[in-house]
């Protein structure tokens, strides 16, 4: 049935919702709390790591700076001849094996001494190096841009330290930075990236990218870091979602990025949530299955109950008083319905019996009424034979006909299966046949045309209708006998819009309509009275004979 809810569906949805929603809420809460906690810890550890790496690198650069300054100071006082400078560089490098190579050049850029000793290099002019020019111009320590050394094939940094009239230039192999990175990040999931001031890689988990001088300044986070805009960020980097903390290192202008891929950061959450999620899924599946079977358990007896009540409604009272595999409450309900069904069955039997008795009684009453009327008819007929006065005879004849008409109604009633109604078509046919046989002149030839729709009406309408037909039909018969003009009498009855319409017509000479509308005869007066009793109407038409139209509501 449309528009009504199915108890089966409601039970299923409620049951699954009741079990699923709390589980999902639990999962959601767990996820939010875990994520928040992990994120906070990631930020803290990232910031701590960045600070630590930055401190390490600053120390490293400070150390380079202090050694360079120490060397520059001592080179100045050590002597100025190439041999003395060469000797000094050897000693310095043996005490502080820190520089990949170190050399001393005069202000014109002419190399005076190198370590390791390189006769090819001595006498070369390094004035073309921008950082050397800058140091000469400012008289200050100057750091070069990083580059991949042709000799070591490693990222390298050069620093120039003014040393009296000369300059000490040290080349530092920056692979040490990667070592710092590894030491600091080995414990966790963080990755360290160090970039020089142009955005070129100095440290990266993929060392090949460092050797290939990749520049990362296309990333906004790198640009920001190199411009001094540092802090914690949540962004995409190298096609990964990452948390990163950045810091800028002076005086080199390098940027430090400590990254944690979010996938790895939240791996522990996934590890935890996956089994929880799986358990919740399992619980959800089980609860759904349970809901399905519970639904069956609850709905099946209801369905059986529905069948029982349907059977009772159809008059089949022998329903079972027990349900298979059902519940106590349902069985109680079924037993109650079963008892109710038995009582209904008993009462119905009693009612049927009473009805049958009343029907028999009613038939008997109709039969006796009819017999009594028949007795009256017989008496009137005997009287009729003994009366010679035609007027009296006519009156007797009319009354005999009227009584016959009433007796036929009772005849029909006790003969039919339905004691309340009679078949009007059969009744009118019988009545008109009687009238024709008892009233007409056998020498006069005419015919009747009776067409009545199938209709059963009660005694309250059948008797007035029968008398009306009797009056009008017998009137036409009389005119037929008297004038011989009537050849056909037609009686037609049909049902339209809840009304019975009757037409009685003869093809005799029309009479004065005022005789009907203002009657002084008993017959027409009876007709008008009975029409009023039927709450109907009658109309006389004097065209093509005499026609009466009668309508009354059924």
């Amino acid at each position: 049935m449309k528009g009504t809810k199915s108890i089966r569906r409601v039970l299923f949805i409620h049951f699954t919702s009741a079990s699923l929603i709390p589980l999902l809420l639990l999962l959601l809460t767990l996820t939010i709390l875990l994520n928040r906690n992990i994120r906070v810890r990631a930020i803290e550890s990232n910031e701590a790591l960045t600070t630590s790496v930055a401190r390490e690198i600053r120390s490293y650069l400070d150390y380079i700076d202090s050694i360079g300054r120490w060397g520059a100071f001592h080179a100045r006082v050590h002597g100025n001849s190439p041999d003395e400078l060469q000797y000094f560089l050897s000693n310095m490098s043996s005490y502080f094996p820190f520089f990949e190579s170190v050399l001393i050049a005069d202000p014109a850029g002419i190399v005076q001494a190198t370590y390791p000793a390189d006769p090819d290099m001595v006498g070369n002019n390094i004035n073309g190096q921008p950082f050397f020019q800058s140091s000469v111009a400012t008289g200050k320590v100057q750091w070069s841009e990083t580059f991949i050394s042709t000799y070591t094939n490693s990222p390298t940094l050069a620093a120039v330290f003014p040393s009296g009239t000369n300059y000490l230039i040290g080349y530092i192999n920056l692979t040490h930075l990667a070592t710092i990175g590894k030491q600091t990040t080995s414990a966790g999931t963080s990755e360290l990236i160090i970039l020089d001031s142009r955005g070129n890689l100095l440290v990266h988990p993929d060392y090949q990218l460092v050797l290939q001088q990749y520049n990362f300044s296309q990333y906004q986070m790198v640009k920001d870091t190199l411009n001094g805009k540092t802090g914690f960020f949540d962004t995409r980097f190298e096609d990964k979602n990452v948390f990163f903390t950045s810091e800028r290192i002076d005086p080199t202008g390098w940027g430090i990025l400590v990254l944690q891929e979010k996938r790895e950061v939240f791996a522990i959450a996934y590890q935890l949530l996956f089994p929880v999620g799986a358990l919740i899924f399992l619980a959800a599946a089980l609860s759904t299955i349970l809901a399905f079977f519970s639904r069956r358990q609850v709905v099946r007896p209801i369905y059986q109950l529905m069948k029982n009540t349907q059977a009772i409604a159809e008059g089949r009272y022998g329903v079972s008083s027990e349900l298979s595999n059902s519940y106590r409450e349902m069985n109680y309900l079924v037993r109650t319905i079963s008892r109710m069904s038995e009582k209904i069955a008993r009462r119905e039997t009693e009612l049927k019996k009473n009805l049958e008795e009343k029907e028999i009684l009613l038939k008997e009453v109709h039969h006796r009424v009819k017999n009594n009327l028949q007795l009256i008819l017989s008496i009137l007929n005997l009287k009729n034979f003994s009366v010679d006065d035609p007027a009296t005879k006519a009156v007797l004849q009319d009354n005999i006909g009227r009584i016959y008409t009433i007796s036929q109604v009772h005849q029909q009633l006790y003969s039919s299966a339905d004691l309340a109604k009679i078949d009007i078509a059969s009744y009118i046919s019988t009545l008109t046949a009687y009238l024709v046989s008892h009233t007409s002149d056998s020498q006069h030839d005419f015919r009747t045309n009776i067409q009545i729709d199938d209709l059963a009406i009660g005694i309250d309408q059948a008797i007035p209708l029968g008398i009306i037909i009797f009056e009008l039909f017998s009137n036409s018969l009389k005119h037929s006998t008297l004038s011989g003009q009537v050849k056909t009498i037609t009686v037609k009855g049909d049902i339209l819009d809840g009304e019975f319409r009757l037409l009685i017509n003869d093809d005799g000479r029309p009479f004065d309509p005022s005789l009907f509308s203002e009657p002084d005869s008993l017959g027409f007066n009876i007709v008008h009275e009975l029409i009023r009793q039927l709450q109907g109407s009658i109309q006389y038409t004097a065209a093509e004979g005499n026609t009466f139209h009668i309508d009354f509501p059924l």
Binding site: R9, I13, G109, P119, D120, G123, N124, N125, I126, N127, G128, Q129, P130, I148, T150, N153, S197, R198, G199, Q208, L211, Q212, Q213, N215, S217, Q218
Partner: protein, 371 residues
């Protein structure tokens, strides 16, 4: 909403969320020597290729599809070059931009022709690679053209009768070929006598000894067919000897390292090259500015080559119609370079204007438009 509608909705979300987005990018390979000695020009080429790809993608890609670059390092080793190209081919690249040295390009030539992979080299110029109807294209002129330009310049500007060439045999396909063309030209144009000394840059060469040997031949012009650092070191040897003789270099050496390491005498070097640092047209200037903004370093000749190679590759892919090969598009199109138009002959070689460069005040300049 009915129960089954809700169920369908949830299932749809589940299915949609499990679908991975499929990329529609165009794969372009790059292969060059990105590490080891002499890798600086190649990294500059690579950087320019990256810059061009980034700019094209910002403008909406090639016919709406973004470029995805696959970058491989051939490390200057032929086997590695072949391995790199095999990997790029397996990845399904539309073409390969590379290699950056003639020796590596030669090493993979058979492979790319067998597999019909278009290779567009920004800087390979050995004659062996030229005048072949194959899948190798170079936007760089051949050694013959470059050597002829240098020889013509030397004949016109320097006096003398002797020229000595010091040639790095490490990249012999390029260097020996170059020096041979130079020799033929210089002998033809001005009847110089030509001598050649070979060395191997990977064998820790003694430049002092090498220069002594060269100078013993009493040259009026020294030719250095070597990379930037070696050229710089040999010029330093001339400086130390106070020999201010003219030096003919090659475009392989033309990068910042030559200026930084070469000392004052690098201003005696003359190099025939494709680009003109002196040209200040809008496109060229714009590129140099953008390159500097992106990489914080000057764009030299190799960067221009890399940039042009990427632009040509992108335009060719954009023009390519169904049932048309990329090779046909490259052969039938005139492309706009940063300085001039670029078109390929039937062999996929270019004929472009060549300039003579030198160094003044720490910068490369154009001293002559040779051809």
């Amino acid at each position: 909403m009915k129960f089954r509608d809700i169920l369908f909705f949830l299932l749809s979300i589940l299915l949609l969320s499990s679908c991975e987005q499929t990329g529609n990018s165009i794969l372009i390979g790059f292969s060059g020597q990105l590490s080891g000695p002499g890798s600086t020009p190649s990294t500059m080429v690579r950087n320019a290729v990256i810059l061009a790809a980034e700019q094209i993608n910002e403008r909406g890609g090639i016919n709406g599809r973004p470029i995805e670059l696959l970058i491989k390092n051939d490390r200057g080793i032929p086997d590695q070059a072949l391995k790199a190209d095999r990997e790029l081919f397996a990845a399904g690249v539309e073409l390969i931009i590379g290699h950056t040295t003639s020796t590596m390009s030669t090493a993979v030539l058979d492979y790319i022709n067998e597999n019909e992979i278009v290779m567009l080299s920004p800087t390979s110029s050995a004659a062996y690679l030229m005048e072949k109807d194959d899948y190798f294209f170079s936007i760089f002129p051949s050694n013959r053209q470059l050597a002829e330009a240098s020889a013509e310049f030397a004949c016109a500007n320097f006096e003398g009768t002797e020229i000595t060439a010091i040639v790095d045999s490490f990249n012999s396909i390029y260097t020996v070929d170059y020096s041979n063309h130079f020799r033929r030209s210089i002998e033809a144009y001005c009847n110089f006598s030509f001598a050649r000394l070979d060395y191997d840059s990977t064998m820790d060469p003694d430049f002092r000894m090498l220069l002594n040997e060269a100078l013993n031949l009493d040259p009026d012009i020294l030719m250095l067919v070597s990379g930037s650092l070696d050229t710089a070191m040999m010029v330093q040897q001339l400086y130390k000897r106070g020999l201010n003789i003219p030096v003919i270099g090659v475009e392989w050496a033309e990068n910042q390292e030559l200026i930084d390491q070469g000392g004052p005498y690098v201003e005696n070097i003359y190099i025939s090259n494709l680009t003109s640092p002196g040209i200040r047209n809008t496109k060229s200037q714009k590129f140099r500015t953008e390159y500097f903004q992106r990489f914080n370093t000057e764009a030299l000749s190799s960067a221009v080559m890399g940039y042009e190679a990427m632009l040509i590759a992108a335009e060719a892919l954009e023009r390519k119609k169904a049932k048309q090969s990329l090779k046909e598009v490259l052969l039938g199109t005139t492309f706009q370079g940063l300085q001039d138009n670029i078109s390929f002959d039937a062999y996929g070689d270019v004929n472009r204007r060549i300039y003579i460069h030198s160094i003044r005040e720490g910068r490369f300049i154009t001293v002559q438009s040779a051809k």
